[in-house]
Amino acid sequence: MMNWFQGLGHSSLLLFERLGRAATFQIQVLLSLPSLFKQPRLLVQELYSIGVLSLAIVVISGLTVGMVLGLQMYNTLIDFGSEDSLGPVVALSLVRELGPVLTALLFSGRAGSAVTAEIGLMKATDQLSVMEMMAVDPVKRVVAPRYLAGVISMPLLAAMFSAVGILGSYMVGVGLLGVDDGAFWSQMQDKVSLDGDIFNGIIKSFAFGLVASWIAVFEGYDAVPTTEGVSRATTRTVVHTAFAVLGLDFILTAIMFGDN
């Protein structure tokens, strides 16, 4: 019994120590961001590899999610004779919830894990150490551009996910199932508000971008510099991002839409 308490105490201490390291690292990264003004090329490169190269998976996923959503919603709405509401129902689901959340999960699987693996392998092969010895700060040169690129890319990818998702549901609802074209768009225009829905969706995806990028760069930089260490760090990035995004989503949803 005593051992169990000792183990619990030890694990708690390790957890808080790690959280402290992560927080300190986040501050270090934030303080390094102004250095990117001197080398914007680094940011552009990372925007390409983190943002642009994630477009394919986001667009394909958004399209299929939108199509499935259109099909499922139509089957439910038609029972109440309100299939004309398909547009706003799908749009609100995507813009408020599915767009930001699913994009963050896809982002962590595609780009976050890659960032962690890249930084972790650079650490394991002494590339970060050699950079330090060349008087080049690896946090400024390697971490900051990847972090900022993630934060910038996430809201744009989430917007793309929602837009393509709406298009997918339009293809299924209007193209295949015969929902009225005008009703689909006009009801959506009427029910989806810019400040209440779209803006909150953007805030959510921005918050998820901050968290997902923070976890990805921290896990890479803090990885045990071995093959197994990097592998575990990559897994942790995906798992921790999923938990953090889902937990944060509940909190943000409660704050944004709780009193509606």
């Binding site: 002494d126 590339q127 150490s129 010895m133 060349m134 008087a135 080049v136 700060d137 040169r141």
Partner: protein, 273 residues
Amino acid sequence: METTQNNDMLIRINELHYSRGSRSILEGVDIEIPRGKITTIMGPSGCGKTTLLRLIGGQLKPRSGSVSVDGQIVPRLNNHDLYQLRKRMGMMFQSGALFTHLTVFENVAFPIREHTHLTEDLIRTLVLMKLEAVGLRGARDLYPAELSGGMSRRIALARAIALDPMLMMYDEPFTGQDPITVGVIMKLIRLLNDSLGMTTVIVSHDVQEVSAISDRLYMIADGKVVGEGSPKTLQQSKTESVYQFMHALPDGPVPFHYPAVPFEQDLLQDIAI
């Protein structure tokens, strides 16, 4: 006299103690590295040689004692001053540590681009000069994955000397290399040290090679300096641990066996269970 001594020595390490967790690595090490010479720190694997290089470069902080490079106490330097000092240091890692996403040319150009505002033409000239010095000008467009181990180290060497440092540190430069590459690296270390007027510190356990090119040797064992002097002095040393190391004896003060309970007791324990 003190001032003259200070000027003669680029690096002074006094009473240096360093621990990793509860394990003590260095216990009161005193080393002086003279300017313009090649000094080698030798010792068995795991004795803290690479740790010592990282302490000189300020990547690790000692538990106590001091490390001064060119009159600056390294552990007391703030980040800015430490980075300024590192601009005058070069280090070749055991693995080479080349940036895998960059070509050979871009690897060597990396420190020049980071710390100078030279034109592309001038950078190209400088990089080609450094690559010519290590005999790999023709490999400039290759990626690190396309290089052999020896070529990687020579490229790492070209990158380390890109900014003509005052101090060059080599971490196990000969380990795992074929005899021809060892000969090439030995020649390069001597040549670069003499022609560029730099100070060289080598960390190695290759007795023959370092004896041939070093002006001074230090030997570390059990966290302490157990021998120092010219290669000839250490070859003739009667100190047990130095003798064992210099003559490659399998057992001695540096034991063949990792500390453990007696073998017989270990075997009988299994039977008892």
